[in-house]
Symmetry: C2
Subunit: 333 residues, 2 copies
């Protein structure tokens, strides 16, 4: 049996802002899985800001994405053919390290995990119950440790990570102020996710609005964006504040990102902690269990932004880097 | 009995760089100490970078220095007249919160601590065995925790704090690279204090020299300076590095201090911790005991830069802010 496997490759490294010309659709033929292997159909692909970093050749926390190979990415899907004792055709899975931007794959059974797609949708396993959810949980619970009486600020507030951060912090008693781009996202953060306030950084006078929304200063920050937004938050920090640096999306295209208010670190005795969730795999089961319990109990809103078909992945990815998504960006394959 | 007390007051807040015109010498008359009080003669005054921050009106971690009052500062000296049961004339003391830039003072006995000036010089109690020593010890031992196999970088490397940091880190097995201004200081750091290398940031090509002196990158940073030097260090950080931010002297005059390499915090998962030693008084006894043991055993070099007479304090202070001191800056009163 042969299967046509559609893939998206990285064919050109971006100079500054990436474009669709960096990607190419490629078709490959797959044969039968060997002993211990499975042939799988990816159904959902996660698109995440970290992928932008992989497109560069620069030293980072991970190897660069190789040219003319399948773009990396988390996937969930179903098993088509199994030569591994733990799986049978029809099983739903999440891939341990992601199977990338492609419709199919043949991998060892050890590379996938059977998941229950009846309690939560299969797509959640590339988001809330995947890397983004674990990231939100770890940064909030293990770095920031928000508590009643504190004000927590989260940027990219309705994104895959930010939305979970804010809701977890609310559940632990903090006052939560989001920063997001556009009225629709900000309304959603307040009305649906229960944030105390959300500031639209695209609106004129947003810095004054942010100040007004944090009358007692800022104690905890979950930072996804960097640049001017981060600098504005730094100026509002309270003594002994903590900042978890999860992403700096505004600088991913190589734009210089000077910080003017670094003095706040000294004056306010801040702790800043950069982190990458792959360093903390031991917390994933706990994180995912708690998040699954919250979402199935209706106590956590989780929104997805779904692009249809593998071919739409490059465009959806580029739009996401500019804040075009509203909720976790995924592709239905 | 009356005593003439010479004082230095802050009479004008600086706009940008402070000048001698910010200070004025004032003479006051002191009477006799009341019940429970002591009349003391300050013998040594500490000059420290933090005083620059106090001269401004801006919000910081401490109240601004009041205008037309004695400048704040740590002192040690001797008791002239005692109406307090714990002290007698001739006792040597260190002041708990400093008695400021003045020759004499009348204070409650509870505000001074009797110190042993036979084992170490009386002047050490405003430096190595005062706030700067505690700062160096806490930042090194409680924040950075240097270990064998690590490279620790300390700026203002021959200053009151930096010299102690580097020698403590060496004692705990780290490779230590200092950054200081001028050949004399760098030679001293390597030859006398045993640093593995010291880079003269005033020399052309110092960034290349710094890179060459840190072939395995940088794991720990004790930061006193900020600005371009800090940015250069950030670019050399290893994964999971830690940075203790003790001072940002290069920005104290309000000069913007943009940081370009903040991305290193994310990529290298750095922890940055600002701190002020007055938040950690509980560690002072331990810190001072360990430092006193090291210095009396000849295992810690401690250098002082001594200005003579209260009148020299403003000039010595201004010179220190530009790196003119070589070792702990004090004034013999």
């Amino acid at each position: 049996m042969t299967t046509i496997n559609k893939q998206i490759h990285l064919v050109r490294r971006p100079v500054g802002e990436p474009t669709e010309a960096c990607f190419a659709l490629v078709e490959k033929t797959l044969g039968d899985p060997g002993p211990g292997q499975v042939l799988v159909r990816n159904r959902f692909l996660s698109l995440d800001p970290y992928m932008r970093g992989r497109m560069d050749e620069a030293k980072s926390y991970a190897q660069p994405q190789a040219l003319n190979e399948v773009m990396v990415g988390a996937t969930s899907g179903e098993v088509l053919v199994s030569n591994h004792p733990d799986f049978k055709a029809g099983d739903t899975f999440a891939a341990k390290f992601g199977l990338g931007w492609q419709t199919h794959a043949i991998v060892k059974g050890e590379h996938i995990i059977k998941v229950d797609a009846s309690r939560v949708p299969l797509s959640y396993y590339v988001g809330l119950l995947g890397m983004p959810g674990a990231t939100a949980w770890y940064g909030t619970m293990k770095i920031l440790e928000p508590a009643a009486g504190q004000t927590l600020v989260v940027t990219a507030a309705t994104g895959a990570v930010g939305g979970v951060v804010g809701q977890l912090a609310k559940a632990h008693g903090a006052r939560v102020v989001g920063i997001a781009g556009g009225t629709a996202k900000c309304d959603y953060a307040v009305r649906e996710m229960g944030f105390d306030a959300c500031i639209d950084y695209k609106a004129p006078g947003w810095k004054e609005a942010f100040k007004a929304a944090t009358p007692d200063g800022v104690d905890r920050v979950f930072e996804n964006v960097g640049g001017e937004i981060f600098d504005t938050i730094l100026a509002r920090m309270n003594p002994f504040g903590r900042i978890a640096v999860c992403g700096l999306i505004s600088g991913y295209n190589g734009t210089p990102m000077p910080i003017a208010n670094f003095r706040s670190v000294l004056v306010n005795k801040l702790r800043i902690q950069g982190f990458i969730i792959s360093d903390h795999l031991e917390f994933w089961p706990q994180a995912h269990k708690e998040l699954a319990d919250l979402v199935t109990a209706g106590r956590l809103k989780y929104r997805e932004s779904v692009a249809e078909g593998l071919e739409s992945a490059p465009g959806a990815f580029l739009a996401m880097l500019k804040g075009g998504n509203f909720g976790k960006q995924i592709v239905r394959l």
